[in-house]
Subunit: 220 residues, 2 copies
DNA sequence: ATTATCTATAGATCTATAGATAATGC
DNA sequence: ATTATCTATAGATCTATAGATAATGC
């Protein structure tokens, strides 16, 4: 693997693990066993590294959220989208943690992220559309659907922070991928009132799969 | 006003304005026209300042979210709670921006914030309860109500970040209190499907008051 | 006497670069 | 020749403290 890619990979790993704010360019270089100078040969700055990682994140999510317009959507489609989005979110979880600071310090990132958000919102809207076509949810007025999509986005993007701040007892103990996927439960809760009688049971069953369990009791 | 309180007030102002990460103890001291040494005479550390500010925030929210158990709740009560929570959120908006970092660095804060979250969730739950008693929303199973309360919390605590990252074109341009209150529109959207026929119109009218307007066109 | 404030600075980082050296590709 | 890497360091901060001085309260 090229050094450039190894830097991106290690930076992502360290950022996710410890938070971007706690990871310096020296840390990344040391982690890779290379000199800081070399790191700066490959990237102009720390925020350049972050920008490149964002571009990968963006590409991943865009790939998953390519919602077909030519056919109705099924509960299986919905499951796939939810799993994909939460998976991508988990893999780049450092990003939303320090989002505001990162955007404040990089105009490119700020612009790209804003567009990214709007693409995601549109995709969520299209999923609702497609599910209505597929008879899974009742059709809703344009305006309500837009507000619902935004709520879905707010729940998704905040779920990680909630887990870390409200549940985790230990500072270093990151939530697991499994816990993160329980965010799907919360998203499906938003959609419950809009389900058609025909598909209600199958979505309820899906939701049940992601139901949060009471926190583990520590076993010594 | 005592110097100690002036420090807390100025720190809060600077944190809100520029973000905690961008505000050093030197900045706070300079802003107050005092020496950094003096600042450290009144507070042990920067995170001690943050912790004291959090305690004020906590006190404010706890004061507003003292939900009466002895009477049903009205639409006016709901309005008051929503306005109060968003107002408190606005006044201490720096806090959620760097939440994870702040909690990682202060065990007291971590513990207190976790309890605070759970108190807030309980209060939201009680609001739903009281509104059901008042005939505003249809009663729901315990389990659904808990998941709904959590979604309300997630929307509230993420609304500010959404505004800043998805809407603001300029980096320094903070969302206004007015925009923040449009988060109420989003919260009320969550409750729409559960309204009773009797109160549906009055809640819809309330929601309309907070409807987001298209972003201002810059007038030269 | 005690409380509040200031001056000056140690010590720890962090980002980024200059300039030298090593490795690679024609 | 070009690309990759390293060494060494400048320059900019930041947090926090030691120790001196000023202000205040009995």
């Amino acid at each position: 693997m090229k050094t450039r890619d190894r830097i991106l990979l290690s930076a992502l790993e360290l950022f996710n693990e410890r938070g971007e704010r706690n990871v310096t360019t020296n840390h990344i270089a040391a982690f890779l066993g290379m000199s800081p100078g070399n790191l700066y040969y490959h990237f102009r700055s720390k925020s350049d590294i972050i920008y490149r990682i964002f571009q990968e994140y963006e590409k991943l999510v865009d790939f998953y959220l390519d919602i077909p317009r030519d056919r109705p959507l099924t509960v299986a489609d919905l499951t796939f989208y939810l799993e994909s989005v939460f998976d991508g979110f988990w893999r780049y979880r450092f990003f939303h943690r320090d989002l505001e600071f990162l955007l404040d310090n990089d105009a490119r990132l700020r612009r790209d992220y804003r567009d990214f958000t709007h693409r995601c919102l549109n995709a969520i809207n299209r999923v609702f559309d497609g599910l209505a076509d597929g008879g899974v949810i009742k059709p809703q007025p344009e305006e309500l659907r837009a507000a619902m999509s935004l709520n879905v986005w707010l729940v998704i993007t905040n779920w990680m922070a909630f887990l870390k701040t409200a549940e985790a007892a230990e500072p270093a103990r990151n939530p697991t991928l499994n816990q993160l996927r329980q965010g799907i439960y919360q998203v499906l809760t938003l959609e419950l009132p809009y389900l058609t009688a025909e598909f209600r049971d199958s979505v309820l069953a899906l939701r049940e799969k992601y139901r949060p369990e009471p926190p583990d009791v520590e076993v010594a």
